[in-house]
């Protein structure tokens, strides 16, 4: 049986800053080991811990106990109940009470406060399932992505080589640890390279600035275009930052330049998805081409682009249109038209439009992603609706009952008719023209 270490760092190295407490690898492993003993052997663990330190210890404990981490797309009671019933022997670990959830759960607090030191590095079977990541869909149905330990182990080494954080970096993340971007950078990277992550999860600009001030140089910020834009718009006074990593949504060149100017950081944008993990990088302020990580290979066929890598369980079809320029460089041409990714959640536009058309009184309509400009990044979907006897508010209310808030179209405009071609198709060009017209009227 091939095994791979849980971490390749030594017991005295710093893995986390839990508030102000420095946590060494040895202490971290002792805490995870103590929690492992509280869990039934080999059981799947529904890891709902919110604090990054609690989440990371639980993540390690599940793996060390021979089980896997189940990472749901949200913490809603219905989601948790469904996981509990569909995974035999699944145990919930949560660091704070869950609203509405009445089942049993393990509280990791005692293990998290342990002052023991464990100098042995656990060996994990390479093919052990370590995590199952669930991504949400437009209506709550989710897809599951399996991550064997070898995948997480190898991709962490690849990410360290490609992201190349400054040695001794202190990492602050504005993203939660549960989703792939936060998991790879703020949980796993510090297990394999000379970086220390802060447990804080700052959200508002004032929180981000305060937490950045608290950590030492060289500072690394792991974030998203949404948070970075808020920093620029607030004229936040940022301390010197060495490196900023951004992912989850397209970063505009002007925003990348603004952040570089404000913080002195090199801003590196990362491209990837939950299935592949991080896949390519670019310094957005300077270049347009993406540099593919060496471990990956991309091939194009008539339907799009497929990514392959030795450490992935199988080939992955990407959600975007890519133009391959060389084996290692590509440009992103945009999303495949039907799939959208907003606030880390995925949806199908066809499915959302279907929900819109189901509303009584709606005669025709479409939900779509407006084009992105530097001034107005496309963070929201838009809708044009034909419904002579309804108010926009009625439609919004009806949609709100079935659609996640992230996908609520905004603006939603009533029109007399949609510019359908004779075949019934809706040419994007005509759609955008009509949309621009309604924008001018509204403005």
């Amino acid at each position: 049986m091939t095994t791979l270490p849980l971490t390749n760092r030594s017991p005295d190295e710093l893995v986390m800053l839990h508030d102000d407490e420095p946590v060494s690898i040895g202490r971290f492993i002792a805490r995870a080991g103590m929690l492992t003993r509280q869990l039934p052997e080999g059981s799947p663990v529904i890891n709902l811990c919110q604090d990054r330190h609690a989440f990371s210890v639980t993540f390690a404990a599940a793996i060390m106990g021979g089980g896997c981490n189940l990472l749901p797309a949200n913490r809603l009671k219905a989601t948790v109940d469904e996981l509990v019933s569909s995974f035999d022997g699944a145990v919930v670990v949560a660091d704070r009470p869950l609203e509405g959830f009445t089942g049993a759960y393990v509280d990791p607090t005692e293990a998290l406060e342990s002052q023991d030191m464990d100098r042995g590095i656990p060996k994990i079977p390479a093919d052990q399932l370590a995590a199952v990541v669930f991504t949400s869909g437009s209506t709550g149905r989710s897809s599951r992505i399996e991550k064997p330990w070898q995948t997480l182990h190898d991709s962490s080494l690849i990410n360290l080589a490609q992201l190349d954080p400054p040695p001794g970096a202190r990492v602050l993340a504005t993203v939660p640890p549960q989703h792939m971007w936060g998991l790879e950078t703020s949980v796993l990277m510090p297990w394999f390279g000379p970086v220390t992550v802060a447990s804080a999860h700052p959200f508002f600009v004032a929180d981000i600035c305060r937490q950045l001030d608290r950590i030492e140089h060289p500072r690394v910020l792991v974030s998203t275009p949404v948070h970075l834009r808020a920093l620029v718009e607030s004229d936040a006074e940022l301390p010197a930052i060495e490196r900023v990593y951004s992912a989850t949504a397209p970063l505009s060149r002007s925003l990348a330049r603004d952040i570089e100017r404000l913080s002195g950081a090199k801003v590196v944008e990362i491209y990837g998805c939950s299935e592949t993990g991080c896949l390519a990088r670019r310094q957005t302020a300077r270049v347009e081409d993406w540099q593919l990580f060496e471990a990956f290979e991309l091939t194009s066929d008539g339907d799009g682009t497929v990514a392959r890598a030795a450490h992935l369980p199988g080939p992955v079809r990407l959600m975007d249109h890519l133009a391959l320029r060389t084996d290692a460089r590509f440009r992103l041409l945009g999303r495949q038209s039907d799939l959208v990714n907003i606030a880390g959640k995925r949806a199908s536009l066809a499915e959302l439009t279907g929900i819109l058309l189901d509303i009584p009184g709606v005669l025709d309509g479409v939900i779509f992603q407006p084009p992105e400009t530097d001034d107005a990044p496309a963070t929201r979907l838009a809708a044009l609706v034909v419904a002579p006897n309804l108010e926009a508010a009625d439609i919004r209310r009806a949609l709100g009952r079935r659609v996640d808030a992230a996908f609520m179209p905004r603006p939603l405009r009533l029109v007399e008719r949609l510019p359908r071609a004779e075949t019934g198709k809706l040419p994007r060009q005509s759609l955008l023209q009509l949309f621009a017209q309604t924008c001018r009227q509204a403005g």
Binding site: F204, A206, V226, P411
Partner: protein, 91 residues
């Protein structure tokens, strides 16, 4: 408690509608004690972040999420207005 917006609440409601491009919602339609985020207005955490930026520009106060009191501040229009006003007084 009144379900009518006070003048201060109305001003904040106008800022919410304009800063989040809620073109099909009028400021008057935001009920002071109705859940602002995650409810029927369709506002989520990204809106909270954008709204915090708009509030800092208009009122010169910084919202934070890292204490319990501040988390309640986003419950509804009335709570948010009270929070913003109390930050201004501390200012």
């Amino acid at each position: 408690m009144s379900t009518q917006q006070s003048p201060q609440e109305h001003e904040l409601a106008q800022l919410i509608v304009s800063s989040l491009n809620l073109e099909d919602l009028s400021p008057e339609e935001i009920e002071p004690e109705k859940q602002l985020f995650g409810g029927e207005y369709g506002l989520d955490s990204i809106d909270a972040l954008e709204l915090a930026v708009a509030i800092s520009k208009q009122y010169g106060v910084q919202l934070k999420a890292d204490d319990e009191r501040n988390r309640h501040a986003f419950a509804n229009l009335r709570a948010l207005n009270e929070h913003v006003q109390s930050l201004r007084e501390q200012g």
